[in-house]
C-alpha cells in the first residue's frame, strides 16, 4: 500500500499536555430556546435537537420559557441530592482506593442528570438506568447503607454478592437492575412502556445511555420500536464527552448532536444543558407529559462532562488534558445551582458548607453501619450456597447437587 490513506479519523480537540478546547460545543444563551406546546407536531420540534435548552444564565439567574419556577424548597431538594450523590461518590472512591471494595464508578459532574430527572418523573414511572445513575437510586429511596452493602457484597447486599459494585436495583423504587452490558436497558424501557400502554396505564418509562453507547444495536432497536408503536418512553443520552478513552466524536457526535439521532424516525430530540438542574427538570417534565398523553417517545441529550475517571480501573490523564473539566463551558451542576440559590437570596457559602458536613456525616454513619453487615476481609459472610439460587425460579436438581458439592469442597471434603 503506497497510496496515502483517505480514511477520516475523528480526533478530540485536545490530548494530554494540550490546552482544553471546547470550541466544538454548540452553545446557546439561557432562555433562548422556545418551549413548544406538548402536543406540538413532531416536525415542528426539530430545532430543539440542535439548540441547547438552558435556564440558568452566567449571572446565575433562571430565565426563559423552560424555567420551571422552582420554589426555595425544591431548589434545596435538588441541591441536597446532587451533593449527596457527590459526597457519596467521593467517599466510595476513597474506599475503593483503600482496597475495601473491588470497584467503583462516580457520576462526578453529571449529578444533575439523575437528580433532576428523578424529580421530574412520577414514582410509578419506571427507570432503566446506566451505571452512572446512582442518583436515581438515592432519590428513589434506596438507603446509603443498602448501596454500600451492595458495593461490599456483604450479607445485606441486595444482589447477594452476585454483581460488581454499583450494579444496584430497586424493585420498590421502580429502578431496574443495572447491567454490565452497555445499552441493553434501552429496549427494555421501550418494552416496559409498550406494556404500560397495552395495559392502559399512564406510567411511562425512562432510560439512560452514554454518548458512546449510542453506537450499540440496542439503541437502534429501542428507537425503532419506540417510534413504530409511539411508546410512552423518555430515552436519554448522557453526553459526557467521553467513553472511557474514546471521545464522543467516535460515536458520531461531531457530525450532529445525539439529540438528532431519532429525527429520521420521527422522534423529537431535545438537547439540554446537562449541568443545569432546572433545564433538565423542565425538559424531562415536558417529555413525560407528552408521553403520558400519547405523544410518544422523546430523545433527550444531556450535554455534560465526565468530571472523573471512567471508573476506578481508569486513568484519564493518559488520554485527555488533566484540567479539561475546569474549562468545560457548562461548568459544574452543583456549583451552578448553589450560585443560583445564593443569587436568589436564600442560600450562602456557609449554609452550603454545613450541608456538605451534614451529608458527610450521614455518609460516614452509613459506612459504619454498612460494615457491620460484613466487609471484604471481615464477616459476617454471605452464605456461598446462595450462589446457586435465582438462576431459575426454582433451583433445579443439577444446581442443588452442585451446591452440595461446592459446600463439601469448601469444607475440605
Amino acid at each position: 500500500m503506497n497510496k496515502k490513506s483517505r480514511l477520516q479519523i475523528p480526533r478530540p480537540t485536545a490530548r494530554p499536555g494540550e490546552k482544553p478546547d471546547f470550541s466544538y460545543l454548540d452553545l446557546a444563551a439561557a432562555g433562548s430556546v422556545d418551549k413548544p406546546a406538548i402536543d406540538a407536531r413532531t416536525r415542528d420540534l426539530e430545532h430543539l435537537s440542535s439548540g441547547l435548552v438552558r435556564v440558568l444564565d452566567d449571572d446565575h439567574n433562571a430565565k426563559g420559557p423552560w424555567n420551571p419556577g422552582f420554589d426555595p424548597a425544591q431548589l434545596q431538594v435538588g441541591l441536597r441530592w446532587m451533593l449527596l450523590n457527590r459526597v457519596f461518590d467521593e467517599r466510595m472512591w476513597q474506599i475503593q482506593r483503600q482496597g475495601r471494595i473491588s470497584f467503583y464508578m462516580q457520576a462526578t459532574g453529571e449529578e444533575a442528570v439523575s437528580i433532576a430527572q428523578a424529580m421530574a418523573l412520577r414514582p410509578g414511572d419506571m427507570c432503566f438506568p446506566s451505571y452512572r445513575n446512582q442518583g436515581l437510586f438515592m432519590y428513589r429511596g434506596v438507603t446509603l447503607v443498602d448501596m454500600m452493602c451492595q458495593c461490599l457484597s456483604n450479607t445485606r447486599d441486595m444482589c447477594l454478592g452476585r454483581q460488581l459494585p454499583i450494579m444496584y436495583h430497586s424493585k420498590s423504587g421502580n429502578v431496574f437492575s443495572i447491567s454490565g452490558n452497555l445499552g441493553t436497558q434501552y429496549p427494555h424501557a421501550v418494552g416496559w412502556a409498550m406494556a404500560s400502554a397495552i395495559k392502559g396505564e399512564d406510567h411511562i418509562a425512562a432510560s439512560w445511555v452514554g454518548d458512546g453507547s449510542t453506537a450499540e444495536a440496542d439503541f437502534h432497536h429501542a428507537l425503532t420500536f419506540a417510534a413504530v408503536y409511539q411508546a410512552p418512553v423518555i430515552l436519554n443520552v448522557v453526553n459526557n464527552q467521553w467513553a472511557i478513552s474514546t471521545f464522543q466524536g467516535t460515536a458520531g457526535g461531531q457530525r450532529r448532536p445525539f439529540a438528532a439521532r431519532g429525527l429520521g424516525l420521527g422522534i423529537p430530540g431535545i438537547r439540554v444543558d446537562g449541568n443545569d438542574l432546572l433545564a433538565i427538570y423542565a425538559v424531562t417534565l415536558w417529555a413525560a407529559d407528552r408521553a403520558r398523553r400519547g405523544g410518544g417517545p422523546t430523545l433527550i441529550e444531556l450535554v455534560t462532562y465526565r468530571g472523573g475517571a471512567h471508573s476506578t480501573s481508569d486513568d484519564p490523564t493518559k488520554y485527555r488534558p488533566k484540567d479539561e473539566w475546569a474549562s468545560f463551558p457548562l461548568g459544574d451542576p452543583i456549583e451552578r445551582l448553589k450560585q443560583h440559590m445564593i443569587a436568589e437570596g436564600h442560600w450562602s457559602d456557609t449554609k452550603h458548607e454545613s450541608l456538605i458536613d451534614e451529608l458527610r456525616t450521614e455518609v460516614t454513619a452509613a459506612w459504619k453501619e454498612a460494615q457491620k453487615h460484613g466487609t471484604m476481609t471481615e464477616g459476617p459472610w454471605l452464605d456461598p450456597g446462595t450462589m446457586f439460587e435465582d438462576v431459575y425460579a426454582e433451583t433445579p436438581n443439577n444446581l442443588e447437587s452442585q451446591r452440595r458439592r461446592m459446600l463439601e469442597i469448601e469444607k475440605g471434603e
Binding site: 436495583h169 447491567s179 420500536f225
Partner: protein
C-alpha cells in the same frame, strides 16, 4: 380429543393461554395479520386484537429486548423468531439479559419470556433456514431449552413454557410440523392424522418441563435424541431389528438425567443423535453425562449420529441430515462393539 398437526397444536396452546391469561401477548415478524410464515399464530390477531398479537419490525434483538421489558412490566410475552437461523441478532439480549436478570437482581426482577423458533432442516431451506443451534442455548444457564417432537408434547410443553416464570427458548423442528418423518426423504410424506401423538386435547393441559419421555421402550440399546430424530430413531429401530429404547429428551436444559441413566444402565449401550453439527453439539453433553453416570454399565463406547461439521448445504441436505441410513448404521456399530 382432536387430531392436530404441530402447527395446530402450537396455535392451540397460544389460544388457550391468551384466553386464560390476559397478560399473554405475542410478538414477532409477520405473526399478526398474516398469522406467521408457518401459520403458527394464524387467527390469533383476529381473536385477541392487534394489541396482543403484534407485528414487529425486523429486528430480532429488538423483539427480544422489548419482550424483556414487557415481561418486567407484568406481561407474559411469547416472541416468535421466524427461523432459528435468525435468532443470533437477539443473542446478546438472551444471554446477557433474559438469562441473568433474575440472578443479578436476586430475584427482584425477572421476565417470563418464551421465545419460539422453528429449527432444523429437511425442507430444502439451505444453510440459513435449517440450523439447529440448541447447544448454544443449552449451555447458557438461566434459560430453559425445549424441543418437542410431536403435537401432543408441543402443545403441553408450550403451555408449560408460557406459564413458567423462567425464560424459555422453545425450538420447533419444522420438518415435522405437518407430520412425523422417519428420515427417508424418498418415502411419501406422512401426516399426524394417524399418529397417536397427533391426538391432542382441545383444552388446557401441560407437559411438564424437565422431563424426558421414553418414546419407544426397548432393552438392547438406548438412543437419546430429540426433535425430528426421535422419529428417525424409532424407524431405525424397526429397520435394524435392534430392540432400542428411544428417549426423547424434550427439555434439553435442565436435563432429566435420571431417565437417561436408568435406561442406559438397563441396556448397557447408548447412541446419541441430533441434527445439529456434531462438534461441540448438545450430544457431547449427553455423552459426558451418560459416560460419567453409567461407566460401569457400558458395554460399548457411546456413539453419536449428528449433522456433519459443515454448514447445512442446500443440494446435499439428505447427505447432511442424519437420516435412516446413518441412524441404522449407528445402531449397528454400537451393537457390534464388544
Amino acid at each position: 380429543m382432536a387430531q392436530m398437526n404441530m402447527i395446530e397444536a402450537i396455535r392451540s396452546a397460544h389460544d388457550i393461554m391468551m384466553d386464560k391469561d390476559p397478560s399473554v401477548v405475542v410478538l414477532g415478524q409477520d405473526v399478526g395479520y398474516f398469522g406467521g410464515v408457518f401459520r403458527c399464530t394464524d387467527g390469533l390477531q383476529r381473536k385477541f386484537g392487534e394489541h396482543r398479537v403484534i407485528d414487529a419490525p425486523i429486528a430480532e434483538g429488538g423483539i427480544i429486548g422489548t419482550a424483556i421489558g414487557m415481561g418486567v412490566n407484568g406481561l407474559r410475552p411469547v416472541a416468535e423468531i421466524q427461523f432459528a437461523d435468525y435468532i443470533y441478532p437477539g443473542f446478546d439480549q438472551i444471554v446477557s439479559e433474559l438469562a441473568r436478570l433474575r440472578y443479578r437482581s436476586s430475584g427482584e426482577f425477572f421476565s417470563p419470556v418464551t421465545i419460539r423458533t422453528p429449527c432444523g432442516g429437511g425442507i430444502r431451506g439451505g444453510q440459513t433456514h435449517s440450523q439447529s443451534p440448541e447447544a448454544i442455548f443449552a449451555h447458557v444457564t438461566g434459560i430453559k431449552t425445549v424441543m418437542p417432537s410431536n403435537p401432543y408434547d408441543a402443545k403441553g410443553l408450550l403451555i408449560s413454557a408460557i406459564e413458567s416464570d423462567d425464560p424459555i427458548v422453545f425450538f420447533e423442528p419444522k420438518r415435522i410440523y405437518h407430520g412425523p418423518f422417519d428420515g427417508d426423504p424418498e418415502k411419501p410424506a406422512v401426516s399426524w392424522n394417524s399418529h397417536p401423538k397427533g391426538e391432542v386435547p382441545e383444552g388446557y393441559y401441560t407437559v411438564p418441563l424437565g422431563h424426558a419421555d421414553i418414546a419407544h421402550p426397548g432393552e438392547e440399546l438406548t438412543i437419546i435424541t430429540y426433535g425430528t430424530l426421535v422419529h428417525v430413531a424409532i424407524a431405525a429401530t424397526k429397520e435394524t431389528g435392534v430392540d432400542c429404547e428411544v428417549i426423547d429428551v424434550r427439555t434439553l436444559a435442565p436435563l432429566d438425567v435420571a431417565t437417561l441413566v436408568a435406561s442406559v444402565k438397563k441396556t448397557g449401550r447408548c447412541l446419541i443423535a441430533h441434527e445439529a453439527t456434531r462438534f461441540g453439539g448438545y450430544g457431547a453433553e449427553l455423552v459426558a453425562t451418560v459416560q460419567k453416570e453409567c461407566f460401569y454399565h457400558l458395554e460399548a463406547p457411546i456413539s453419536r449420529v449428528a449433522g456433519w461439521d459443515t454448514p447445512y448445504p442446500h443440494a446435499f441436505e439428505w447427505q447432511y441430515f442424519p437420516g435412516l441410513k446413518r441412524m441404522s448404521a449407528g445402531i449397528r456399530k454400537v451393537m457390534e462393539a464388544q
